[in-house]
């Protein structure tokens, strides 16, 4: 939809993301209302070809798994309390290798916390959400353009890698309205669901070099399909502890880790000769961008890295961090969850942190930390 003429509108990222998900080929939204994800629910009710109001978050994700197994691309949006209920089924969908997209709108915890206050506090939970050391692809939009492109990438990645994908965002990102030229957005193509070639005979979890099995839905007339949540081998049946089934399970990590370059998104804006790097993600990225502009105006050489593929961590993120003398991590949680993900909990003279709990981090707070 890129055109020469602009169309400026007052819009929020929930609308942008919902539209992008549908244009990317998502078929059905299964929702259970929870603040601050409710705009997704109301936009999806209007826009998705199919919409279902689930009775609870466990049902929501189970229905989605059923839809995905039947060949559809399902989507939901929730916040931490909902995610907590979805966790067992998220593991199931990951194990069955079912494509789906979850939008997680972070709000202030713990527990029910403050439903209408934003946060970036769920990353640590997501890092370990799949039992055993597996990573789900997690993308975090840092502005409206990301909201559009990463929603598209989420659907593409979910289908290409047969996995649930999480779009990790927060209240201020998806509920704040801004002026925006919607005609500046790149056009989106619907994902291709045509089953990829495979070496016969078909087995539901048999893979080639790309380590992703060819998808056929339940009910198809060609091949018997078996999906399985328990430890299984290529045939989709339980083989407890067999080398084949263990290899199949470990493959679930490898297929994503080894090919992370195919879905590595980030933004690096660096002055030549800069020794200081600011690292941020999600809602805090815009404060970091403003801080960088202000620091530059005062004559400082500076670099800013906005991470968009949060998990699995692309190697390039480590490489960038390693190439600066001083790195300041900026995020809206108590302990620096992204910082911990990258460089651990240990305090080091190379790392600074700007953290806040219960309100947005200001550009001035980042500038003060860097200077």
């Amino acid at each position: 939809m890129t055109t020469q003429t602009s169309k400026k509108v007052l819009i929020d990222a929930s609308r942008i993301m919902t539209e992008a998900l549908v244009q990317s080929g998502a078929d059905v939204f299964v929702g259970y209302p929870i603040t601050p994800s409710n705009l997704f629910y109301s936009y999806s009710k209007e826009r998705f070809p199919e919409f279902l109001a689930g009775p609870d978050e466990i049902s929501v994700l189970q229905w989605m798994a059923g839809y995905a197994a039947a060949g559809k691309i399902p989507v939901t949006a929730t916040s931490f309390p909902g995610l907590a209920l979805m966790t067992e089924t998220l593991n199931m969908a990951f194990m069955m290798e079912l494509p789906m997209v979850l939008v997680l709108v972070q709000r202030l915890g713990p527990s029910t916390g403050s439903a209408t206050t934003g946060a970036q506090g769920d990353l640590k939970f997501l890092e370990g959400v799949i039992s055993g050391g597996f990573s789900l692809p997690i993308f975090s939009p840092s502005n409206f353009n990301d909201a559009w492109t990463l929603s598209n990438e989420a659907v593409k990645t979910a289908v290409k890698f047969r996995t649930p994908v999480i779009l990790l965002t927060s209240k201020e990102m998806v509920m704040t309205q801004k002026s925006f030229d919607i005609n500046s957005l790149e056009s989106i193509k619907k994902v291709d669901r045509k089953p990829k070639a495979f070496e016969p005979p078909y087995q539901p979890y048999k893979v080639g070099e790309d380590k992703v099995p060819t998808f056929y839905p339940l009910g198809n007339d060609k091949y018997q399909v078996r999906f399985n949540s328990s430890t299984h081998a290529e045939d989709g049946l339980i083989h407890k502890g067999s080398p084949e089934s263990m290899r199949n399970t470990i493959r679930l990590r490898e297929k994503l880790i080894e090919r992370v370059d195919e879905f590595s998104f980030y933004e690096l804006d660096a002055d030549e000769g800069a020794k200081d790097l600011i690292v941020s993600w999600g809602i805090t990225a815009d404060a970091a961008r403003d801080a960088v502009a202000n620091l530059r105006a005062s004559g400082k050489k500076i670099a800013v890295l906005i991470a968009k593929t949060i998990l699995p961590v692309p190697q390039v993120i480590y490489d960038i961090i390693d190439s600066y003398d001083m790195v300041t991590f900026v995020e809206e949680n108590l302990t620096g969850q992204y910082k911990q993900l990258l460089v651990g909990k240990r305090i080091s003279s190379k790392y600074k942190m700007v953290n806040k709990f219960g309100s947005m981090i200001r550009p001035s707070e980042i500038e003060a930390a860097v200077n």
Binding site: K8, E19, R47, G66, P217, L237, I238
Partner: protein, 410 residues
Amino acid sequence: MEAEKILIKKKMPFCPGCGHIINTRSITKALEDLGYGTKDVAMVSDIGCSGLVDPLFASHTIHGLHGRSPALGAGVALGLNNRKKKVIVIQGDGGATIGLQHILEASRRNIDMTLVIYNNLLFGMTGGQVSGLSTNHFKDYKQSADNAEPYDIVRLSHQAGAAFSIRVNKMKSFNNVLKEAIATPGFSLVEMTSLCTSYSMKKMSEFQYFTVDEEKLVNDRPIGHTRIRRTKSLFNNLEGLNTQFSSNYKNKIGVVIAGSAGGGVQSAAKMLAQAGMLAGLHVSMKGEYPITVGTGFSVAEVILSKEPINYTGLEKPSAVLIVTEDGWKKVKDRITPDSKVYLDEKIGVDDGYTSKAFIKNAGKKGAALSAVSYWIKESDVFPIEVLEKVVENHKYATSLKSAIASGASL
């Protein structure tokens, strides 16, 4: 043409004499009798002894979590949306207890699928513990101290709207009952008695002493579907707000508007933001109000800027417009020495702030817009005509214009 065999293994992974053997055979026999081919059936299995069935079937299979298989099966059935394909869910009485909500939901929606509950009155895989479907008589036998009455899953699913709900205890009836259930359009539930030779009796004749009487209940209802629609882009109906006017402002200004629920605070803020866009400015807007949206304060923030806006926080508002006491209490601490404050006269605070009769002149619903209008005129951020332009095609254009005029005339 001979029907395809859905049961591919005669040797089953169950204890000798286990009721699950005959139950499983009865299901596949019923499907074969009804003429279903292997690719027409999706078997959904749960956790527990009944969850070991997948390798027995030549059909499609999906093996999920404890108790959740009726929800998983519901998703499959809705996703397939095809009367020629049959979704069969198999779970035990433990699964039916933990996943009771899913059974009620599938019943309520009358989703086209069949749930078969292998009820052996206990958790066989974990040592014979009692479930929500264990009868009190059986619990006494198991010396369970918990004697709460069991769920009647047949009546519950019927009450929730299932097309067909039945409890069957006699093995010789299994095949016919299953055929009737599977052939019923909509949601059918079959609770089948199943003997656990490890943790209950060795003989069915003794075990049946503990079971609930057979019962069959039907609801004549259409199959529950979702509607699949063609929809239009969420961008289609958005109002284009390309620049039509110019603004006198060079910098970034933040405006806080505060009032009470139902007082038009959020819509006044939106109109200010829209006007800012028409005047060629970048804008951001966010609202804050209690979870119970119909009462208490309502606060909105609008940032207007010549440059694109990244960070949307507003620590030092240039202007604070307050039209009610609720609004005053909520935002009074956000006022800085540099903030220009405009209050409704009724608030009665005298700190050298500008006090105007917004409510008196424009009414409770128009006061916030009236205050915005007054501020635009005072600050000269852009001509008042821009705000008038915003409301021009609004369905309440007349009253909005009058609120704008009242503010501008103060």
